[in-house]
Symmetry: D2
Subunit: 309 residues, 4 copies
């Protein structure tokens, strides 16, 4: 607000976009008696020559969000045999290539995990239970055509709740007149991680790559003796980038889910960091990007639509 | 409303109860380098001679809910080495036996599952990820003293989301002038089960019993060819009671999470029950109790306090 | 669990019921240019001769929940010109009277409030904004026919969040070895009230009665100097029963939403109960019924189905 | 993903930030017997020279999030007599000016509305009920010092749920092979608006400005005959900018909350757009910015931290 005068310039339409959010697509694969399931939440988002819809109410360039919905469900059958990243790429390319006014399309997908039920001592062919809270996420953006064509793929995970009961400290920090926190050499550290990684090149196997990155993140959280959540996040990110040359960068958002040691000494009970109160709010919130110095331009890859990714 | 005149009787205090709800207790067991974790949401609820607090604002018989909270956290250390049912029994007995005005106490507990992380190729000693959405629940009620002493234990599970992609039909139903539903011989059947079972006798191993009941429920859902969710629920309940003589009854609440086959024929695509829309609302809601004819009296066992159980 | 032996009795179906939950009905009244809106969440629940559906998978007595849904939407037009209590009565009577196997029907309704928008200096004829968080609720139960016919109507409100910044104390309470709470003569008292009242006779104007009861509850919360939430709740309930002879009883459930005075003295700031932390969990939870001694039998009036009421 | 080779560049820390999220501050003003209340959810977010915390676990430049929390609660007393924008500015300036490593600070605030209760026929002096679902939001960013100092203020509202029962159409849209939607000349239009506006110059009265912008948005939604949500949003934004020269731009995010006319003709009932099903998912999602061509640079003003704004 450094300007001392009001703005009086012409009023115009700035950035705009629209689409159909949160299509709850469930795909069952019935090719053999052993069925497979994929449970998705899919959002489409289009940008392009839509200004007339805003400024004069002219819909002639606007593909209804209902049509986008029909496409999403149809493509689940016709282009849904692979990973969510491949399905998203097919959808995004369709909107850019086949719908004239569309200049770029973004597809955001959440995938909910299901686990095959054990029945009669073996995995059942067509029954599963949901497994969470962790959700796999992806965001695919396709823009332009011909030589101008760009494609960005982000994979990730949200609500990966992880906790270590020791191997974490927090000390030697800056203090000010509002600092009453005591340093600690042993604490519970817990978070509900959101991690999103941007691909430079498509991996041979999207699903295996996702599983490998997820495993690496979890392993580093466990193995690194932590001096702070910041250090842990950077180490997790670096480890993933070292192991996956197909990635340009990884973004991590981590609430510090505070577990306060409960004071039982008042009641004559020695608890020694065995009883904690898991507090709801407020919480620390640490966010960091780990990236390669030579990472290609991210363009609009990180321009999130629904909060799904 | 069959009475034709208004009520004019004396106005009195009816049933009342109070307590501290949703204490988020996390217990870490550090006896060996391989830690264990138990993550709980604990509520206490007391009934007794508290009328004066309501009618004249006299607190002299009211144990503060803060004191109940301190007790809950303290007992996590002193009485928290076993199952949630045993921990709940210890808490409920304490309130009834040691706090004079208390005539009955109810302890409701939710237990959140954690799964040991794999790091360096083996289970890590002090790191876990949360596993959901399923939550184990228990409700323990203790009432009276001496010869009047009664104790009821309910165990259970909520948010057990389960789906079968075939082996379910719905046909031959009653019709009226509002019936437009078509019968079906093959459909997706899914629910988010809440199951609660009442114990007659304490099992040797509460945790193993919980795991066994949960496994039996899931297995029957998978194996039974379903003619309706009603039939499936009854079969699940009967199977559990047959296998667990320690149980008097089981209560099942099951939303029918509708998965509607998506009509792709409009777009020239043959999908044959492979693409579904998972609808949010409305949903069918089926509830049933399966019980033994000679089950002992349930008393106030099912008088739920917080919604936790 | 006073029995020393396991139960081995015959396994049978206990209580059962089913219906369609959470139909999101929006009714617009367009009789004049000044439209009206009613925004509802309606659930139907049937009990009756449905045992064969559970025990042998025979649906011949089962009216599909889809048919119930169609009825709910249709009745919004044909029987939806009055209050939610009247609409619910019409639906419940229909299910009991017209669907042979049905012995009792329960209709639970939530009504969301909308407020007419001001445009051009006056209330707009067809635009509203939602007003919450408070929700009006009702539960109507109809059972039997002929001389056996019974009808119960419950009205109420949930999520009525109310706070007073003074005029509340808590002192003189019972103490035990876990009591560390200090008595207080001045505190913030806040709750998110659920209040449900049972009618003995139908009022002339259901909507005006609802508004009057709601106003009385709020006024008493404000005016009574509180010695505890218990005392406040009883006083609120008694006041309502005194003013409304058409009511038999009122049930109140009130979380004590703790607002902790923040200690700023550590930082040299005198705050004198001006800055508080609104804590999430745990919370006290106080529940009480205020009733007339001569209230008619409640039967199954309080047998809640969805949590809506 | 146009690169044909993997990235192999040096791995470095990219953007990072941290803070304390969701401090639930309640401020009571007790200067006179007529109290006032302000109910806030406050998050702080710092950027600066924190790289060593990530890369080598050195906390010597890291002010604990706990210290930020203490500051937030203390400032509620010492700098909390005005609007949330002024309170946020004070906090952000403090972190930048007084904590050496901090280069920029962002304060995000939600304010929950309370309405004075009527008791004894007049507004009560110290009792309120909560009013929602609408929430006022603000995001204040302060960066740099001396000649480099920049300050950005964003105000706004979220969860402003608004509905019009007529005066809305959708026709003349683009069609493709997936288009089955029928055009309509009369429909219910509803959204749950998020609107955020960026100030160029500080208004004389932040609270009055907020109320005025909110009223203008609502009025335009009501008055404009809508050819699509896009047109309505642009008109709302333009109207606000025209009336408030202190604003540079406004961003609008609007889910199209679909209300589907229910087909009652099947049951012989003429409903003529009087009965609707309010669907949950999927929903259209329309987003647009309306701005002045000469608007000053937004810098990091829109770099959202918690989702609060």
């Amino acid at each position: 607000m450094e300007d001392v005068t009001d703005s009086t310039g012409k009023i115009v339409l700035g950035a705009d976009r629209y689409g159909k959010a949160e299509n709850r697509v469930v795909r069952i694969y019935r090719d053999t008696p052993r069925h497979e399931i994929r449970d998705l939440n899919v959002s489409s988002c289009l940008r392009g020559d839509f200004a007339a819809a805003y400024t004069v109410g002219d819909q002639s360039s606007v593909l209804p969000t209902d049509s986008q919905k029909q496409t999403i469900y149809t493509y689940a059958k016709t282009h849904g045999d692979g990973s969510i990243e491949e399905y998203g790429l097919a959808l995004a390319r369709h909107f850019v290539d086949d719908i004239a006014p569309v200049q770029s399309a973004r597809i955001e997908i959440e995938e909910y995990a299901w686990e095959r039920v054990i029945a009669g001592g073996r995995p059942h062919e067509h029954t599963w239970t949901r497994r969470g809270p962790e959700v796999r996420i992806a965001a695919i953006t396709v823009a332009g055509s011909g030589a101008e064509r760009r494609e960005w793929v982000i994979g990730g995970v949200r609500d990966l709740v992880i906790l270590k009961s020791t191997g974490s400290e927090f000390a030697g920090f800056l203090t000010d007149e509002f600092t009453v926190l005591e340093p600690t050499r042993d604490r519970v550290m817990a978070t509900s991680l959101v991690a999103r990684w941007r691909f430079t090149t498509p991996p041979d196997d999207w699903d295996a790559t996702h599983a490998g990155i997820r495993a690496a993140l979890v392993e580093r959280f466990a193995l690194l003796h932590s001096k702070a959540l910041q250090q842990t996040l950077f180490d997790m990110g670096r480890t993933v980038l070292e192991a996956y040359p197909c990635l340009a960068e990884i973004r991590l958002s981590a609430p510090n889910k505070h577990h306060f040691a409960y004071d039982l000494a008042r009641f004559g009970v020695d608890s020694t960091d065995e009883v904690f109160h898991a507090d709801d709010r407020p919480y620390g919130l640490i966010e960091a990007t780990v990236r390669r110095e030579d990472a290609p331009d991210a363009g609009i890859a990180w321009d999130t639509y629904t909060g799904a990714v």
